[in-house]
Amino acid sequence: MPKDGGIGASTTRREDVRFLTGKGKYTADINTFGQAAATFVRSTVANGVIKSIDTSAAAEMPGVLAIFTGEDFVDVGGNPAGWLINSRDGEPMKEPKRPVLAHGKVRHVGDAYAAVIAETEQQARDAAEEIIADIEELPAIIDMAAALAGDAYVHDEIGTNQCFDWGWIEDNRAATDEAIKNAPHVTTLELINNRLVPNAMEPRASIGTYDAAGDSYLLQTTSQNPHLTRLLISAFVMGIPENKLTVIAPDVGGGFGSKIYHYGEEALVLAAAKKVGRPVKWVADRTESFLTDAHGRDHVTKIELACEKDGTFIAFRTETLANVGAYLSNFSTATPTFLHGTLMAGNYTVPNVYVNLKAVFTNTAPVDAYRGAGRPEATYSIERVIDMAARELNIDPVEIRRKNFIKPDQFPFGTAAGLEYDSGNYDALMDKMEAIVDRKAFEERRKQSEANGKMRGLGINAYVEACGIAPSNLVGVLGSRVGLYDAATVRVNATGNLSVMVGAHSHGQGHETVFPQIVGEMLGIDPQSVDIVHGDTSKIPFGMGTYGSRSLAVCGSAVVRATEKIIAKAKKIAAHMLEASADDLEFTDGQFTVKGTDKSVSFGEVALKAYIPHEFPIEDIEPGLEETAFYDPANFTYPSGAYACEVEVDPETGKVTIERFTACDDFGNVMNPMIVSGQVQGGVVQGIGQALLENTTYDENGQLLSASYMDYVMPRADDLPFIAVDHSDGTPCTHNPLGAKGCGEGGAIGSPPTVVNAVIDALQSGGKNVTHIDMPLTPARVWAAMNNA
């Protein structure tokens, strides 16, 4: 087997050939004979009572086939939250219904209250403009603190805007309070983790098809997670039996979390397809993406770090308000809690951690997991307050972190926030980062910047996160309503090539390249003879999709397990062919050999025998060579990193320029270093976007001011530095067969505090008494901070 194609090789991404030559097939590319178009009528006010909806004029418009309003869906279920969170007092969270179409009230700008099905999209849009809705606008509930204090509610039926009031770990509350009260030094920081719009390049799109002959449905949709979408539609929303519903997520142009979830548009096109007897297609425009894709982050936090005068950490305590928007999206209750609070010990041996988090309904778009999902919020709070404490105590920012790091010989380490980290070497990462940065040379670079009239700063950061989501038993205890295993079926074809059906969905990750590298390595065959099948619930085993950096650690492990089963069965067949005992065979480089002899058969010969079972021990071995494995991880994986960022700040304009960025990560064993580098760089770019550029702003009326690319700043190439990455020599994950840790989100988790720490360092070095600026650090904000200091 060519070693350059197996595990550890930077194999070129095979899927890129079709993506880069325009041959990718996305949902919007699919056109079916007889298809009709759907368009949605969306609220232009953030909060309002629907008094009446008159569709009579619209129904007479050319080409109109059907019109739906919320009234049509009162008898079907709501789109549920996937995790049940209990408040500190034991009360379960509030779960107002999230209907297919708004009924009774509209709750955010963009909330759909009607849909038009017509022959063409133009006709549907023309007709939609003729729908006359009498909506009585109410004051918008936007600010979280005001939402909690006020007596007007996003959902009147629950009589509060508080979804839950969660404590983690509640039993540690008193001890943490006591530790902080008695601490020699306490650093307090109030910060905002800014709301982000995911901005996948491909907008959401869905096509519903109904087959009256079989009373069955097909949904082609932009999903990271086709089986979960099917489950939600079947079990909660529409009641379509799972065996009567196929969900296909074809090529998907980026998700970043926003396409994990089931959205009402998917249910609508299915209902509409049945009603009009034709396929019904909807493709979001960019404005709909801004207004209705689940947003990310949006925390307001007060964090306190208590420490000894020498910088030894005693306690972290946070109080956070987390915006869930107008409705609970599927993972919205897990993201700010178990993906956030559990990480609040960071990389540190700190003995006391307590997190209080209140989730708040507002008249804004739903907020849910976005690349990093909870862990960026945790890392940002921890690493910003540590930086501030180091400055207050006059301790070097690297040294204060090293002083408190969990040391390599302490793993597995149970943290004060309730997780058990399996492996890591945080000092080694810091060593690597420091070597690349060369702090002595930095001082020279700083002088050079000063000579050019610029302030230069160095920000450093350490992070650890929990991904490879997730052990079902553990998350079940924590409130998850689903299991979080994954599955793979390895099908060896008669001629020796393979089809591998996986539950994970690839929308940029490179599964079609990496999974064959693993199978090829294990079977000693050319990875190019292995093809991955994903995204079609009628073809793949029941998997839980792709998010939370889980594809390799969880689904990849399922691929390993299924391939091991293949080898075990092939060995039995080979033993028969070689007239030897299976115990006497060894399998190397694709050959089964009787130990100590030159008698051998190749894997390909065994595959052929399995499908042409002549002279076959049919009483002992079934024909065929196909195996399925489900893999449920024993723990999360815990990637970690040490990051550094160097910035220049223009004292006249406040503009921040990133001069250098260094990301040293530990992802355990790396399957394809090139793809991992790309994942880190992409994540860092998104983190830089959050730190400097992306400013999601609702005004007091609930209008999204940054609802287009004229105002919402996505990072562009000329905003970015060269990003140095290093992910060599990781500490292997101890509990999955690949020793791999998830690599999809580390970049987005580690980078925002690194950038902000760098800017604060630059301002301090330039004599400005600025200790914190909330993200994004736009020129205007930096300038204002400098001039108020």
Binding site: E652, L693, S706, M710, D711, V713, M714
Partner: protein, 263 residues
């Protein structure tokens, strides 16, 4: 987008005739109008495209040495063809938007729209340009009348813009990071009879001349000449990307940088 008819006249006369029809709308490079149509925010019956009119295309040098730009000339052409004759103008045109914008957007379209954050109004006002239409000539000082407001009459088309060439000039733009329009842009031009300073992106009234700076720079064309001046924040735009204080501050900073770059 609503359905519309499109006319592609090849002469100014035909364009003016087509524009006299009900609900007809002139289409330059479409960099503002097409997105507006896509959002269903405008509903013209007919678009009259001006880019196929030969007599409105191209750059030449006029009898008095001024740079004459056809109203339908795109930014990339202006950038390329004025590089030697008027580098300040070339630099401004070559830094508008991105290559796609520069190869579609036109000088006439930009000036007719008079977006308060657009670059071209600063060049026209800063150069004391003359706006030539199908019916008359308008001095830049009379042409710009506020945010999206100009002296153009209904159906009047900018056929040419004549820019007197200064001794020294420079356009300094601090970009709004999303749109890359000017958050504040300042065009400084030094002529034999004085300095002109035109500011775009900052004022709620659109492009304007900073006369105090003009006076100071006319006697001393250096950044230091601005030292004693302050720019009041009253009437400055405030939005997501910057307060009125910030914009007022940037006017002075960008003016100083433009002077330094031009000198």
């Amino acid at each position: 987008m609503y359905a519309f008819e499109i006319e592609r006249p090849s002469t100014i006369a035909d364009a003016i005739k087509a524009l006299s029809e009900e609900d007809a709308q002139a289409l330059g490079g479409g960099q503002t109008l097409i997105p507006t149509l896509k959002q269903r925010l405008a509903m013209p019956a007919t678009l009259v495209s001006l880019t196929g009119i030969g007599e409105m295309q191209g750059v030449c040098i006029g009898d008095n040495g001024e740079v004459c730009v056809g109203g339908a000339t795109n930014h990339a052409t202006v950038a390329a063809e004025t590089a030697a004759s008027y580098p300040g103008l070339s630099g401004l045109a070559g830094n508008i938007g991105d290559p796609a914008v520069r190869n579609r957007g036109t000088v006439g379209g930009s000036l007719a729209n008079n977006d308060p954050s657009a670059c071209y109004p600063a060049a026209a006002l800063g150069s004391g340009a003359t706006i030539i239409t199908n019916t008359r000539q308008i001095a830049a000082d009379d042409y710009f009348q506020g945010m999206f407001e100009t002296a153009l009459e209904e159906g009047e088309v900018i056929t040419e813009v004549r820019f007197p060439v200064p001794e020294k000039s420079h356009y300094e733009k601090f970009v709004q990071p999303a749109s890359r329009f000017a958050l504040v842009g300042v065009f400084v031009a030094k002529y034999a009879d004085g300095v002109r300073v035109a500011v775009t992106g900052a004022s709620e009234n659109g492009v304007y001349r900073w006369s105090e700076a003009e006076t100071a720079l006319s006697s001393d064309f250096s950044k230091d000449a601005l030292d004693g001046l302050t720019v009041p924040a009253d009437g400055m735009i405030a939005d997501l990307h910057g307060s009125s204080d910030y914009r007022a501050h940037l006017v002075k900073v960008m003016t100083g940088r433009a002077v330094t770059a031009a000198a």
